[in-house]
């Protein structure tokens, strides 16, 4: 553009007088030139003398660096893969194996309803094994544990959410199996053709594949139970009392059901054909009911956490007892508000507002705070025996009672 203007101007000059030089001032710019007369230009630079004099740019007030990062980076798949340690990688592979076994059982179950029901159970196991692995891997990252403004409790609550989703799977699976079972019964009652087909299928299945199926289920459950500590955390929250007396992993309802039913299914082919057909359905129904009730319990246990409630150690009763004890402390007039809730498997919060009597000095206040937090930790944190490590974070807001 500049050169164009140049040439035209040069041309007009040449027409006037043959002067090889161009003495006129020229504006060379790429944009159309605007005159700046009468227009104010802002102060662009805060360090210019004008700005410094007129305080147009004010420094922001000095602020301490934030205590918490606003948000921590959430790892991508690639980063997660890179962060894997050796044993974590092994666990990941095993988790995939478990899923593969579940698929295998599902496809091999063919005509046997009980085996199909078992495959649902194994699917659930595989799913929570996968959750275990993912939780393990995410634990490598800061965003998981450390709180930021974005995620005040880290991402650890995601495990609860995943568990809740798994419990939905259990419920869904239970329903699904029931409906399948119902359909089968309806078919066998109403339609003879379908019935025949199924008998045929049964003969096909019952040879030795059921043994294989149940063996695979048992093996995978055991490996997951010991290798990944599958279901360990959920089971602690649930505490099924009538199974608690059983030894080691059998006391875990999830492992118990899988092992029990796969053992049962392994015995199934030993029975006569006529009995087999009904027993098959019966086992399917029992499994689906078990899945349903178990899913219900898991959903409630985790739903409570997601609803920001405390359902752990004796739940509400325990909290009431603790509150009563705090109230009886000398110097505490009353409790103004108390919020006890569980954030995730390893963390609970107790936020208390207490009114203290006048004339409490600071040293005593600090002691009181310590006393209360150890009290809560001892009473509600399941410290002993179970190997549980629920941490209680206690926040105590004290207000001096003005009326006394």
């Amino acid at each position: 553009m500049g050169s164009e203007a140049d040439s035209t101007q040069g041309g007009s000059q040449a027409a006037a007088a043959p002067n090889p030089f161009n003495f006129q001032t020229q504006v060379i710019s790429t944009t159309p030139v605007k005159s700046n007369v009468g227009q104010r230009r802002g102060h662009r630079y805060k360090h210019s003398s004008v700005s410094a004099q007129h305080q147009i740019f004010q420094e922001p007030p000095p602020r301490p660096p934030p205590v918490l990062p606003a948000s921590l980076p959430t790892p991508t798949l690639k980063e997660a893969w890179k962060s894997l340690q050796r044993d974590q990688r092994m666990r990941l592979y095993w988790g995939l194996c478990h899923v593969a076994i579940a698929m295998f059982i599902f496809y091999r179950s063919g005509g046997s309803l009980a085996a199909m029901a078992l495959s649902h159970l194994v699917f659930f196991d595989a799913g929570s094994a996968a959750v275990c692995v993912v939780v393990d891997v995410l634990g490598n990252f800061e965003v998981w544990r450390r709180s930021s403004i974005r995620h005040p409790f880290g991402l650890e609550r995601a495990e609860i959410l995943a568990g809740f989703a798994m419990s939905i799977f259990l419920l869904f699976g239970g329903f699904d199996l029931l409906s399948h079972n119902l359909k089968h019964i309806l078919e066998s009652v109403g339609d003879h053709e379908a019935h025949h087909e199924h008998e045929h299928a049964h003969d096909h299945v019952s040879s030795n594949s059921l043994d294989l199926v149940s063996a695979a289920a048992i093996a995978s459950t055991l490996v997951s139970a010991y290798g990944l500590k599958n279901h360990a955390r959920i089971a602690k929250v649930m505490r099924v009392s009538y199974l608690a007396t059983l030894p080691s992993i059998l006391s875990n309802p999830f492992h118990f059901f899988t092992l029990f039913f796969s053992a049962l299914i392994a015995l199934l082919p030993l029975l006569s054909i006529s009995l087999y057909d009904w027993l098959d359905r019966l086992i399917c129904a029992v499994i689906s009911l078990a899945m349903f009730s178990l899913g219900m319990r898991v959903a409630v246990a985790q739903g409570l956490m997601l609803l920001m409630s405390y359902g752990g150690n004796r739940g509400d009763v325990g909290v009431t007892a603790v509150l009563r004890e705090i109230e009886s402390e000398s110097g505490i007039a009353r409790i103004d508000g108390a919020q006890f809730w569980q954030v995730h498997y390893g963390l609970c919060m107790a936020n208390l507002k207490v009114i203290i009597t006048n004339g409490y000095d600071e040293l005593a206040l600090g002691k009181l705070r310590n006393r209360i937090s150890t009290l809560i930790q001892n009473r509600l944190g399941e410290g002993y025996g179970n190997g549980g490590n629920v941490r209680w974070e206690v926040t105590l807001e004290t207000t001096v009672d003005a009326t006394i």
Partner: protein, 536 residues
């Protein structure tokens, strides 16, 4: 708070105030009472410019319930001329409409206009959409306030409307009889739960009829469809339970109330839909593999069209909700467009609408009802299922290729899965106590402001999360370290007041500088060493 000076937010409260004044004094008293019993914060905030919205909104809600109790019905109050083109259909909207010379109010009208055909939740989003469009992201505060406004706006409308026109004749007739059963009454009194309840009843009735006919005629298709119906009923029952529970008060067991129940139920419904879609796809592949031919086409056709009819009723009942939510949601993109097309009358404001997705984060925290959205998606999935069966039966009867049905199923399964995904994600975010982006930005500033309070040396372990009960409020804890020489009590009060002013209800623990007894000091020592205390 700088944004509270911007035009719309400062214009709206005045209108509201005028409105409030027009209410009988007794009404105001009742409201005051609620506020004072509710919490101190809102009273304090009354003096704050920005928070006026919120309070006055509550006023609105109350005022309408008041109207309702008086048995106020259709007598449209004097309408402003600009408003006449919008339908003159209810008191609430007109009462809501402030000075019409304000352009924001005008677009509000448009929203209403539009909304009349859909629903009220809708206009809330409209409102917000328009506003959010006008303001840049930085103004999220302002934006928030609008949200508050909108939210209660919706409440106000729903209250008033229920009684003026929306509560059907049927409801009005049976409502007095249900007083004896408090549960039933509470279900019927609320709009959401009432809808779910009616639809559930319809579904259940249809299921019984279907099962009966299926039994009599020995038809497997009917019977298995009634099983399916039963599952739908169960899902609806869960939704109904959540809708009722969400109104339950706080207790020691549930210190933050039941605001998350609906989110939880929405999450569960979303997961359920995902599982369902996976199952459908699985079965479809299986059928495609084995090539089972579809039998008894006629029966299937009849059953699925009946199911379609029932589900269409459900769609109509729940559909409004969904639209509204979609707008507020970050993926409202395409919907925005479709609305623009549908409602040409309000075009000028609608056209800007499609930009809504930019602001998705801005109002992701709005109290959108995940429960209703989940139910809507469920019904939608069923409807799609029926449609796919109908289409595939027709195609099969014409061409006789048995692959149509699995193909349609696969297609539907993908659709269901994709539609459930955003619901699951947004519900998950809420349940994880994630602070949405816009709020987080403000929160960082507010937290930095704690350090500015007199006597404060520093603070640690600030943990804040969204309150479920009101737009922008935050709950949480913070431990404040107090300088030597400053009174603990006073400093605490100052910090508390400051936080309340910013809309945060926190439990504040004060500690003397140098006292490292609390657990929070351990965390701090690990997280970022001493730099904090050196500053001062």
């Amino acid at each position: 708070m700088d944004t509270s000076y911007s035009l719309p937010s400062s214009a709206l409260p005045h209108a509201h105030r005028a409105h409030t004044r027009s209410q009988p004094p007794s009404l105001n008293n009742t409201w005051r009472m609620t506020v004072s019993s509710d919490s101190l914060p809102s009273q304090l905030e009354d003096d704050e410019d920005g928070d006026h919205h919120h309070d006055h909104d509550h006023d609105h809600g109350r005022s309408h319930s008041h109207l309702r109790s008086k048995g106020y019905s259709h007598s449209p109050p004097p309408l402003s001329p600009s408003f006449l083109h919008a339908h003159s259909y209810s008191i609430d909207e007109t009462a809501h409409n402030h000075d019409p010379n304000h352009n924001h109010t005008h677009s509000h009208d448009n929203g209403h206009d539009h909304d009349h055909e859909h629903n009220h939740k809708h206009d809330k989003h409209f409102h917000s959409q328009l506003h959010s469009h006008d303001h840049s992201h930085d103004h999220s505060h302002d934006h928030d306030h609008h949200h508050d406004h909108d939210h209660s706006h919706g409440v106000g409308i729903s209250n008033g409307h229920n009684h003026a026109s929306e509560r059907s004749l049927f409801t009005r007739t049976i409502l007095p009889y249900t007083v004896g059963w408090p549960i039933l009454y509470s279900i019927l009194a609320e709009k959401d739960s009432r809808r779910i309840f009616y639809f559930m009843t319809l579904n259940f009735g249809f299921m019984i009829i279907q099962a009966f006919y299926g039994y009599v005629t020995d038809s497997l298709g009917l019977l298995s469809d009634s099983i399916h119906m039963f599952f739908d009923c169960v899902a609806l029952l869960v939704g109904l339970l959540a809708a009722v529970m969400s109104k339950w008060p706080k207790s020691q067991r549930f210190p933050y109330g039941f605001g998350k129940v609906e989110t939880l139920s929405g999450f569960a419904n979303g997961i359920l839909l995902m599982l369902l879609s996976v199952e459908i796809a699985f079965e479809a592949f299986e059928r495609l593999w084995e090539g089972t031919e579809t039998k008894r086409l006629g029966e299937l056709f009849v059953v699925s069209s009946l199911g379609l009819a029932v589900n269409l009723v459900g769609m109509m009942a729940f559909g409004h909700h969904h639209h509204g939510h979609d707008h507020g949601h970050s993926h409202g993109h395409s919907h925005g467009h479709s609305h623009g097309e549908k409602h040409d009358d309000g075009c000028d404001s609608h056209s800007g609408h499609s930009h809504g997705h930019d602001h998705g984060h801005g109002h992701g925290h709005d109290h959108e009802n995940e429960n209703m959205r989940g139910i809507y998606l469920h019904v939608l999935a069923d409807t799609l299922g029926s449609v796919s069966v109908i289409v595939s039966t027709v195609l099969t009867s014409f061409w006789g290729w048995s692959g149509w049905d699995p193909l349609a199923s696969c297609f539907i399964a993908t659709l269901i899965f994709l539609s459930a995904q955003p619901l699951v994600f947004s519900a998950a975010k809420r349940l994880l106590l994630t602070v949405p982006e816009g709020v987080e930005y403000n929160l960082r500033n507010i937290l930095a402001g704690i350090g500015q309070q007199r006597g404060v040396v520093g603070y640690s372990t600030p943990k804040f999360w969204m309150d479920d009960h009101g737009g922008e409020k935050l709950l949480g804890i913070v431990h404040v370290t107090v300088a030597r020489g400053a009174a603990l009590e006073d400093t605490k009060d100052r910090v508390r007041e400051y936080l309340l002013k910013e809309g945060i209800d926190a439990v504040i623990q004060v500690e003397r500088d140098g006292d490292n007894g609390c657990w929070c000091t351990r965390g701090r020592a690990l997280a970022n060493p001493p730099q904090m205390s050196k500053q001062f």
